[in-house]
């Protein structure tokens, strides 16, 4: 492979910026804290990223269609509430699991259907459903905390062959996501819709069905993330999922997916999620003052976005130069 192909390979990957930012941040952290570069810390980082990363896989598909789902945190909360309440009432894992996952998928699909049917901006539509879903969950539980059974903890801190279960679940969903995006019609159509919904319609792509499908898929993975979070936190609390939608969207955007749709990768979103966890992990390891967290978080995010813009500009000027060379 010549240097040029490597260079084009790298410059084509939009997630390279976040990888670079992650490596730089990791290097700084390993200097700042001796614990950072340990296997157990890496495991901890991946476990902590799992919930955001799983949700980011679903969100990537939505943003690829130029959509957005603000209600994922509320779906997370409502499905957790449903699961906890069902376990309390029926003590039957099978019923609770099936109902929860079906419900999560349904809530996502409902978002998609509303977006398609009423043609209102997904931002507004899902802002409304955010309120409905969260309200429904508060109503369902009366804002009470509900503990989940101990065995449930296996989902959150069990291990299979030495690997924490949340990491295995995350890896499975990421592989499915990568496959779906690059090898199935759904992935290709989603990108096509994001590039130009009109062209997609004119070429007779099933725009409505694909849109509903990506929102439903996002709901499904959010349901799975909800179960992991519930297992790790040890019970339902009414604060679950508040603000997580912004972390998830930030992870996707950091990972190089365009907010305007059409281009992006699943891997990028996952690295974005890990990057966001790294910031808090580092601050915790360094025993930083609690008052400085938000400032550092914001600054690092800004730096990552700046790197992304910079590399995009370089890509652009390289393309322009190529074009100029061809014209000459």
């Amino acid at each position: 492979m010549s240097r040029n192909t490597i260079r084009t390979l790298i410059s084509r990957q939009k997630w390279i910026a976040v990888v670079l930012a992650t490596i730089v941040l990791a290097a700084v952290l390993s200097l700042a804290s001796p614990v950072f570069l340990t296997l157990s810390n890496f495991q901890a980082i991946l476990v902590q990223s799992s919930v955001t990363a799983i949700m980011a896989v679903g969100m990537t598909f939505i943003i690829l269609t130029a959509g957005i789902d603000i209600s994922v945190g509320a779906i997370l909360f409502l499905t957790s509430a449903l699961f906890a309440q069902l376990m309390l009432d029926t003590e039957n894992y099978l019923i609770a699991f099936v109902v929860t996952i079906v419900c999560a998928t349904g809530l996502g699909a409902l978002n998609g259907w509303l977006v398609v049917y009423f043609r209102v901006s997904p931002l507004i539509t899902t802002l409304a459903t955010y309120s409905i879903y969260r309200g429904a969950a508060i109503h369902l539980t009366g804002a009470q905390n509900i503990p989940v059974p101990r065995e449930m903890g296996f989902l959150g801190n069990g291990r299979i062959l030495g690997v924490p279960v949340p990491i295995l679940i995350m890896a499975t969903i990421v592989i499915i996501g990568v496959y779906m995006l690059s090898r199935t019609r759904l992935g290709v159509y989603a990108r096509a819709i994001g590039n130009s919904e009109r062209s997609a319609k004119e070429t007779n792509l099933p725009v409505g069905r694909v849109t509903i499908a990506v929102y439903a898929f996002s709901g499904l993975v959010t349901g799975i993330a909800a179960l992991i979070l519930l297992a790790r936190v040890g019970g339902l609390q009414s604060g679950i999922g508040i603000g997580i939608e912004f972390t998830v969207i930030a992870a996707v955007i950091l990972g190089g997916t365009k907010l305007t749709g059409g281009s992006g990768t699943v891997i990028g979103s996952v690295i974005g999620a890990v990057f966001l966890v790294l910031i808090d992990n580092g601050l915790n390891l360094m025993n930083a003052s609690p008052y400085i967290y938000d400032v550092v978080r914001g600054s690092v995010l800004l730096a990552a976005v700046a790197i992304d813009r910079y590399s995009a500009m370089r890509r652009h000027s390289a393309l322009e130069a190529q074009k100029a060379a061809r014209m000459a």
Binding site: T38, R232, V233, N287
Partner: protein, 317 residues
């Protein structure tokens, strides 16, 4: 004759209060619904029902702007008094001034507004004392520890006076310990953040001796991390991590009973709610009341938790 007049006056007064009681409506402005807040609100509703007051409850879902608007609407509905638990102590004042202009007394509950010129009284937990109780317990449990003592402290929201005071109190409580390394983990009252924060803190300091949770609802998350890292050792055995928390929820109750947590400080939620209504009725009757009314918490350990379940608001009923 005098007696007769006195009897008439008494009858008139009691009739007047009866009529007034029928008409009195309390506007209840809640920051957000979660377990312990609901417990206090239930105390308020019970106290109001006893006095024959009506309660109009509005919930701001953690949004200061929304709370402002809701207080304005309570004023417009002509409530007789407002009980408020503010989302944010700095942004609420404008709405409260409007209430004052309308002649509506304001009582803060659960979260004080120390700088407000409008709030006539406050009733709520004495978070400094609550934190100190947990700190003193921790200090006693670790009195014989040698070398550096690592204590992880899960701090609540940094804009919440109760969280700040519990931390300050906890520090006072452990002041008798020497050579303490205190690891501060901000949580914003979010269990997911408490979870990852504890995990990171224990990564960096594997020899952790104690954990203090500003709310005991974080204790199950702490338990997850300790189980992850093989540090979940029952009380009384070598290597046990001393865990304390403040609140009184079901999570804390279960954790203390199972021996995971050592002790928890239980807030008097019902008493807080009833005192709030009491303050309102005294202010409306023209009495002067104390500006600050604390309802202190009680510390329970495995020895006295079950016996006092009736006093612990989160205990299964």
């Amino acid at each position: 004759m005098r007696k007769f007049l006195g009897a008439i006056t008494a009858a008139a007064v009691s009739m007047a209060t009866a009529v007034m009681a029928d008409d009195i409506t309390i506007g209840l402005s809640v920051d957000q619904l979660f377990e312990s807040r609901v417990a206090v609100n239930n105390g308020i509703k019970a106290g109001a029902a006893d006095k024959g007051y009506e309660v109009i409850e509005v919930v701001a879902d953690g949004d200061p702007q929304q709370q402002n608007a809701q207080i304005q609407s309570l004023i417009a509905q002509g409530v007789d008094a407002i009980l408020v638990c503010a989302v944010d102590q700095n942004t609420i004042e404008r709405a409260l001034i409007a209430a004052q202009r309308a002649g509506i007394p304001v009582v803060a509950y659960d979260r004080d507004l120390p700088d407000s010129r409008v709030v006539q009284a406050f009733v709520g937990p004495d978070s400094l004392v609550d934190g100190r109780l947990a700190g003193e317990y921790t200090a006693k449990a670790l009195a014989d520890a040698e070398g550096e003592i690592v204590i992880v402290e899960l701090i609540g929201a940094l804009n919440d006076q109760n969280g700040i005071d519990r931390s300050a109190g906890f520090r006072e409580g452990i002041a008798s310990l020497e050579n303490v390394k205190l690891i501060e983990v901000p949580t914003d009252w979010d269990s997911a953040r408490a979870l990852s924060g504890t995990q990171n803190a224990i990564q960096a300091n594997p020899d952790v001796a104690a954990v203090f949770a500003a709310t005991d609802t974080h204790i199950p998350a702490v338990e997850t991390v300790l189980a992850d890292t093989g540090k979940l050792v029952p009380m009384g055995e070598e290597g046990h991590v001393v865990i304390t928390g403040v609140n009184g929820s079901r999570d804390g109750y279960d954790a203390v009973l199972s021996g995971t947590a050592d002790a928890f400080v239980v807030m008097g939620t019902d008493a807080t709610g009833r005192t709030a209504v009491d303050l309102v009725s005294r202010i409306l009757a023209g009495e002067t009341v104390d500006r600050v009314n604390y309802v202190g918490g009680d510390l329970y350990t495995i020895e006295n938790t079950e016996a006092n379940a009736a006093k612990i608001w989160g205990a299964p009923k």
